[in-house]
């Protein structure tokens, strides 16, 4: 949270902050999601939503199958030109504040579908907050995206970001020799 002030009253502690900070804090820990799943990325989305990766840690485990009740639109998979009006309309139905995550390469930029039938990235139709690269992305990348989105919400930052790649320590550049295969 932004500005925190702790008042210690001898056994009883009070914490003060700004109302806007408190609001953003509440928002980032209760993201109701609307999964718009169209393609194979859906499998990784299901893996992420399953207990192993415990997306409930982020308060984002509750899917809402009405856009009117949801905060985050997950665009998971290829969006064809024919689906454009549908995804646009769903986004328009969501109440503010709302966020959009483009899940995977196809939703981010069209992927390898360079043809008459595919929208080259859902950001041509609706604004996207977080792009997750990968074909499909691993659940870890999805969790990274979620944490990135939380940071953005807390900072009230609407600038779109791309989830950066994570370096596996033993494969990091500069490391040579033992342990590598």
């Amino acid at each position: 949270m932004g500005q925190l002030k702790v008042i210690d009253g001898g056994g009883e502690v009070a914490v003060t902050t700004r109302l806007s900070d408190l609001l953003q804090w509440a928002r980032k820990w209760s993201l109701f999601q609307y999964p718009f799943v169209t393609a194979c990325c859906g499998m990784e989305f299901m893996a992420t939503a399953a207990p192993r990766y415990d997306i409930a840690r982020f308060g984002a485990e509750a899917p809402r199958f009405s856009p009117r009740q949801s905060d985050v639109l997950w665009v998971v998979g290829t969006i064809s030109q024919r689906q454009g009006p549908a995804v646009r309309r769903i986004w328009e139905q969501m109440a503010d504040p709302k966020w959009v995550i483009a899940f995977g390469t196809c939703a981010s930029c069209g992927g390898f579908y360079d043809n008459y039938t595919t929208i080259p990235g859902v950001d041509k139709v609706i604004p996207v907050d977080v792009y997750i690269p990968g074909c499909p992305p691993r659940p870890e990348a999805v969790l990274d995206a979620l944490m990135l989105l939380q940071d953005k919400i807390q900072a009230n930052d609407r600038k779109p970001v791309v989830v950066p790649p994570r370096l596996v320590p033993e494969r990091a550049p500069g490391r040579t020799g033992e342990g590598d295969s």
Binding site: Q81, G110, F112, D114, N115, I119
Partner: protein
């Protein structure tokens, strides 16, 4: 196995079977367009053939062929004898073959797909609409003369400035194979901007044309030059040393 089907059709239709082939064991019979539906009906009804399994109906576009532009190809199988046969006919642009949807109901959607992709209408089809694309779509994308990069968005692409978001990726950013030069595609939708051809025709930049790539290239070249200079200098000093 399927040779029996070809023989049976030859015996029944004689001259009306224009051509037969058995390349790679796939038996094929070509007929004239006017015999198309009749022959298909016969293969289904005949007691020896019983081609009751409709596999697929599709088309092939030969734009350079003057006699007839399209091949219409029907693949069927008999669940009784196990025989397979491929029927083929030539269709001119604008000609309407008779529908097969009354013979095999599976042909209904396949014929709609052929209409959608190739623009061949079927005479007597109960519901001749597009099946995969939308009604607003102009043209038929699997025709060879359909521009390879012509997109027809239903939702106009977003005006980025008004929404205060990042502009869409440029072609030099990130994965270049996936970057579609969508601005030029929308502006001159007929222009050819597919990755390979667009680069050839100078309408599309590759990743190595980007400023970032050129800067990296310049840095590498500067380093190489510096290294070469250093090597030359050390050679000269060693030569001087040997002379002394």
């Amino acid at each position: 196995m399927s040779q029996a089907v070809v023989d049976r059709l030859n015996a029944q239709f004689g001259e009306r079977v224009l051509e037969t082939s058995d390349a790679f064991g796939d038996h094929e019979v070509r007929v004239a367009l006017k015999d198309w539906a009749e022959l298909a009906q016969f293969t289904k009804d005949d007691a020896d053939l019983q081609m009751d399994h409709f596999i697929d109906l599709t088309a092939v576009d030969y734009p350079e062929r003057e006699s007839a532009r399209f091949d219409l190809v029907l693949m069927t199988r008999s669940s009784v004898t196990g025989a397979r046969i491929r029927l083929r006919t030539h269709v001119k642009d604008g000609e309407e073959p008779g529908t097969l949807s009354g013979i095999w109901s599976g042909a209904n959607w396949a014929e709609r797909e052929v209409w959608d992709m190739f623009g061949i209408r079927f005479n007597g089809h109960p519901d001749m609409r597009r099946i995969l694309l939308y009604e607003e779509f102009v043209g038929h994308p699997l025709r060879k003369d359909y521009p390879i990069d012509k997109a027809q968005p239903l939702v106009p692409y977003r005006d980025v400035d008004t929404i205060d978001k990042l502009p869409p990726f440029g072609i030099e950013e990130g994965q270049p194979f996936a970057r579609i030069d969508w601005e030029s595609r929308l502006a001159g939708a007929d222009s050819q901007v597919s990755p390979a051809l667009g680069v050839q025709q100078g309408q599309r930049r590759t990743l190595s044309d980007s400023e970032a790539a050129q800067q990296i290239q310049a840095r590498i070249e500067a380093q190489m030059a510096k290294r070469a200079e250093a090597a030359q200098a050390s050679e000269e000093t060693s030569e001087e040393g040997s002379e002394e």
